[in-house]
């Protein structure tokens, strides 16, 4: 009744080693997107040879890592939203920030290679929501109306990544980074810095430690 053909369940540490590999890959790929399997395996406390016991190829590992990151971010983003497009954009910035490491590792991997098709769909919704928010904000008169919403969305995404880079360079804390990514995003949307702070003041939950529901 239990296993069909396998006489024995897989060893318990197999799963944990697998996780260790994915963890190590995520951390190391944040620094160098072309880190070798040797380095990753060593960081996970294993040998390069042992990796092939869990993943048939290097690319398989990277793909799974990227897919997990995409799922994680997509999940967090789907769980929260706001009626006000400006607040929603701030919220998106905050949520993505909370997943920086995953986002960074993911994008670093996705850039090189034909993974765009597999990851795109998971990340597409975020972009779509940004475009919609930008359009609505422009219609209301709070967001910029001088550029197509598509371009505004790209500017906001770019601002977020700039903060991501700046955070590793300057060693920003999570709290500082969270504030900065929101301010930068709203600036790209066309708000003045005073207006951006007004949004923050009226929506204190954006900076709360716990993720808003």
């Amino acid at each position: 009744m239990c296993e069909s053909a396998r006489p024995r369940a897989p060893r318990r540490d197999a799963a944990s080693h697998r996780e260790a590999l994915l963890d190590a890959a995520r951390v190391l790929l944040n620094e160098d997107p072309e880190t070798s399997l040797d380095t990753i395996a060593a960081a996970a406390g294993l040998t390069r040879r042992a990796v092939y016991g869990h993943f048939p190829s290097r690319n398989t590992l990277l793909t799974e890592l990227a897919e997990r990151g995409a799922d994680r971010v997509a999940g967090a983003v789907a769980r929260a939203s706001s009626e006000d497009p400006v607040v929603d954009i701030a919220l998106l910035g905050r949520l993505v920030w909370d997943e920086i490491e995953h986002v960074r590792a993911m994008t670093r991997v996705v850039v090189h290679g034909p993974l765009r098709e597999r990851i795109g769909p998971a990340l597409g919704p975020i972009h779509d929501r940004l475009v919609a928010d930008a359009a609505r904000a422009a219609a209301i008169g709070t967001g910029r109306a001088d550029l197509p919403p598509e371009v505004v969305a790209r500017l906001i995404e770019g601002a977020a990544f700039t903060v991501l880079d700046e955070s590793t360079r300057a060693g920003l804390s999570r709290v500082e980074g969270r504030r900065l990514v929101i301010l930068a995003g709203l600036g790209a949307l066309g708000l003045s810095w005073r207006e951006a702070h007004t949004v923050l003041d009226e929506n204190r939950a954006l900076l709360d430690e716990e993720t808003a529901r």
Copy 2:
């Protein structure tokens, strides 16, 4: 009188081939910062083997390319300035935009490798000027005062690179890109999108075809 010890001047095409190599490298490195010598030589109409007749190593080629780009940008930037810090930032965006290909190739190369020390000094002045402008703009009340000038400068630089990427992705024309890079930079400085357009309207020269003096 003429040559000191050399019985013959170098062949005329040697210099042109050398330029062709640097040109090809600049173009190709804009797409892939790790393009092989083989690819670069082929694009220049030469063989990989011939490259070593001009440059002792791959790294030498990249270094010279980066140094040239840095000099070019630094020269353009040193030739123009404005009293108004906000206008000056817009001007910097415009000047850098005019040298995109060089800037991109340069940064792509500089990221990997210990060239930062050799290139930094040439590019440092731009960053310094951005920091100073950000500080002055904040003091006047036109620029954002909620972040240290150093961070504001990074945001502006990041916005510029975002536009650079967006331009290749969306195939922006030079004119469109020039306008976009200025708007994005002023947004990062904390201006609202309406204020940014006011700056543009009052300084039409920023969008002129010829470089301002």
